[in-house]
């Protein structure tokens, strides 16, 4: 029976699992290189018209459901219940750690910040030495090696930025393809204040058109941007850039609503293809010469762990037990400030100004992060933002909402987390999802250093707000508990030593040479920045390596 089904699916050179940031780019690179590709995605296409600006199902606040997937009906995970046991959590629970599941994935509905990591981020162990309690290591890949791929991502998807006033900008050979964005009212206020403090503010680079680019129009400055699809496609995602390019080659079939259950690895330790449940929930096979996994740090690890074979009884590429380890996110920290005058001008997406002054520049601080003003907080989200000790209902709560929505500024920053070996993704031994696939469970605590740096950065954010004229300020500092979600990374890290990493510097599994990873899983550490551009760049890096070394039906 399975053979009959196989005949229905033509053998291809490569299956790419996950049509997000990494997978979309890899599909584009492989198809351009002449490989036949099946790009397989568990979600589907989404448009702005389907979701509108509904805050309660956005990817930012999702009490009702995660509008861009995955759905609560078929997907769940296990999370620590605080009593040494586990509890079932659904995609719209915060402890699930959701990332959008659709064509384009997070790049459909993200805030689209387009950061390059700093050169030093690629060799943190050399800079800071071993950090007790952390598996911190150097990348096998340098910034200089990745730089051309950062640039390719910036040009093929489209980044608007202006590094002129950022003395700490990572070296770049060419300018951004589009001019930087303007500041909104709070940006203008914050720029002046930052300069008075001797800091170096500059516009946030964005995967969003400041001018028409690649056939897509310029941004219309919507207030609902982060968490929502773009109504005019000014925001660049893989779904409106590289995936259409891949499809146009004729070498790529995009297969949506298909949930991959395992990578088939034969008894000699070679990947033969995948098993997946199609849109009708029928189990199918797709054979291929090569498998590329780009399913996000949590789901990539889950898939490898669920792909058991004779030579790899603990999952594909997992004989050293490192698959799923070291999951990271960002320890978001910052401060809020209240102002006498209106600082809100309804010019979206809100986030526009950044400073790089507090990243890797203080000897007693390991890491750091960029500080930016925050994206516009929509009404329901704002209803949870109050100074500590405030009553969260009644007249005072409503008065605050009415008065301070237009008179407050938030400054946030992603603290680079130290990788922790026991902060990890596993598969649950008992619980299975709708299709019968063992579910992921995610556990572990942040490193103490993350909290220390978070306090350090929150102080800086609060100072900035005070200088800008805030009459009242307070900090918002994270704790040690977290479930990595939209910035999840690190579960299949690259490295030169097969004992302490999962892939080599090209994303190729040490143990199975025809399985590649191309997503945030590869990150050895996750930078003090939003990771999207680095995931895109790694997609180009991995894809380019495969194409250059491809010979007929296998790697040279």
């Amino acid at each position: 029976m399975l053979n009959l089904l196989n005949m229905a699916n033509r053998h291809v050179n490569a299956v790419v699992i996950g049509a997000g940031a990494g997978g979309g780019v890899v599909a584009r690179e492989l198809t351009a290189g002449g490989l036949s590709v099946v790009l397989i995605e568990r979600g589907r296409w989404h448009t702005f018209d389907e979701h509108g600006d509904d805050e309660l199902t956005s990817q930012r606040t999702f009490p009702l459901k995660c509008g861009y997937g995955p759905d609560n009906e078929r997907n769940w995970r296990m999370a620590p219940d605080g009593k040494n046991g586990w509890r079932k959590v659904f995609p719209n629970d915060w402890s699930y750690g959701n990332n959008a599941a659709c064509v384009g994935s997070g790049t459909v509905c993200y805030g689209a910040m387009a950061w390059r990591y700093q050169p030093v981020d690629f060799h943190l162990k050399t800079k800071y030495g071993a950090v007790p309690g952390s598996t911190l290591d150097d990348w096998p890949l340098s910034y200089d090696e990745l730089e051309p791929y950062y640039e390719k991502a910036e040009y093929e998807l489209g980044v608007a930025g202006d590094p002129t006033n950022d003395p700490f900008v990572p070296p770049r050979k060419n300018p951004y393809p589009m001019p930087g964005f303007s500041y909104n009212r709070e940006g203008i206020i914050l720029e002046k204040a930052a300069r008075r403090l001797g800091l170096h503010p500059f516009p946030i680079p964005m995967l969003r058109n400041s001018v028409p680019y690649l056939g897509r129009p310029a941004c219309i400055r919507m207030r609902t941007c982060v968490g929502y699809a773009c109504p005019v496609d000014a925001k660049a995602g893989t779904q409106n850039t590289v995936i259409p390019v891949a499809l146009k080659t004729g070498n790529c079939e995009l297969r949506i609503n298909c949930m991959v259950s395992e990578i088939i690895v034969d008894d000699r330790g070679k990947a033969k293809g995948i098993r997946y449940f199609d849109a009708d929930n029928k189990l199918r096979e797709q054979t291929s010469d090569l498998v590329v996994v780009s399913a996000s740090a949590s789901e990539t690890a889950r898939l490898l762990l669920n792909s058991k074979s004779k030579l790899f009884p603990d999952g594909a590429g997992n004989n050293n037990g490192w698959v799923g380890r070291n999951i990271q996110d960002h320890a978001y920290t910052g401060a809020y400030g209240l102002f006498e005058d209106e600082v809100y001008d309804d010019v979206g997406p809100g986030a526009c100004i950044a400073i790089n002054d507090f990243n890797h520049r203080f000897p007693d601080i390991i890491g750091g992060g960029v500080l930016c003003n925050e994206f516009i907080r929509m009404p329901y989200q704002f209803a949870s933002i109050r100074p500590p000790g405030s009553r969260m209902w009644g007249k005072d709560h409503k008065d605050f909402q009415k008065h301070y929505f237009r008179r407050h500024i938030a400054i946030h920053g992603p603290v680079q987390e130290m990788p922790v070996f026991d902060k990890r993704v596993e598969v649950d031994p008992v619980v299975r999802d709708f299709w019968g696939i063992p579910v992921a469970r995610i556990s572990g605590l942040r490193h103490d250093n993350d909290i220390k740096v978070a306090h350090f950065l929150a102080d800086k954010a609060e100072n900035w707000l005070k200088e800008a004229g805030a009459t009242h300020t307070w900090q918002s500092v994270p704790g040690k508990e977290s479930t990595p979600s939209q910035h999840q990374a690190g579960t299949c890290r690259m490295g030169n030593d097969p004992k302490t990493s999962v892939t080599n510097k090209y994303g190729q599994l040490h143990e199975i040479d025809n399985i590649f990873i191309a997503d945030g899983s590869l990150h050895v550490n996750n930078g003090g920045y939003n990771p999207a551009l680095t995931i895109l760049a790694l997609g180009y890096w991995v894809g380019d390596h495969i194409v250059k070394n491809w010979k007929g039906t296998k790697m040279k």
Partner: protein
């Protein structure tokens, strides 16, 4: 549709009375049995309306009751929040029972200030009674509070935030016209002019 069940007296009137009597009886039965709510009943809605009006009171802008927050919650209890059905059914009954025991009246019959005091006790978990031992009052309070804020501040497509009242209150114009380009905001051009990189 709700079942039309007639009392014995109504049944006798139906079969013995004239046409007018039949119509009147039928009307009465309809009014009593057919609810415009999906999960909650009239008594629960009356209580919930009073609670949401405390959580989001009327001032120069309408409060939670006018904004249809109870309708939002009822609608979600029939869709996304089915898992909260028992919590609401039991919690609202226990709240009413607790209030009657403490004050001798229903919650909605108390003065506004007394209602506030009751909810403060509830939020602090200071309710006594068997039910609250296994179902902390503070948890139920927070569930209702969160759902009410969603109903008042979320999109009207879900049944609350009538007439975009919260958006109007916060000075957010609506509808937000898609396609409006802020060409009058020339700051980015001014900003660009400062940068030697441009025009290359």
């Amino acid at each position: 549709m709700a079942n039309l069940s007639f009392s014995r007296r109504e049944f006798i009137r139906l079969v013995t009375g004239g046409t007018a009597a039949v119509l009147i009886s039928f009307n009465t039965a309809c009014r009593n049995k057919i609810s415009r709510w999906r999960f909650l009943n009239e008594e629960e809605i009356t209580l919930l309306d009073a609670v949401v009006e405390q959580l989001i009171p009327t001032d120069d802008f309408p409060g939670g009751r006018w904004a249809n927050v109870s309708n939002f919650i009822d609608k979600q209890l029939d869709t996304y929040y089915r898992k909260h059905q028992t919590v609401y059914r039991e919690g609202l009954a226990a709240l009413q029972e607790t209030v009657i025991r403490m004050k001798g009246n229903k919650f909605e019959e108390l003065s506004y200030a007394d209602q506030t005091t009751i909810l403060e006790k509830m939020e602090a978990g200071e309710f006594t009674g068997d039910y609250w031992k296994n179902h902390p009052a503070a948890n139920f309070f927070d569930t209702v509070r969160q759902h009410s804020l969603q109903g008042y501040y979320g999109s009207p497509v879900h049944g609350g935030n009538r007439d975009y009242v919260s958006y109007r209150m916060m000075g957010l114009d609506y509808p937000n016209v898609i396609g409006q380009n802020r060409y009058n905001d020339l700051s980015w051009r001014i900003y660009n002019a400062k940068s030697p990189e441009y025009g290359k």
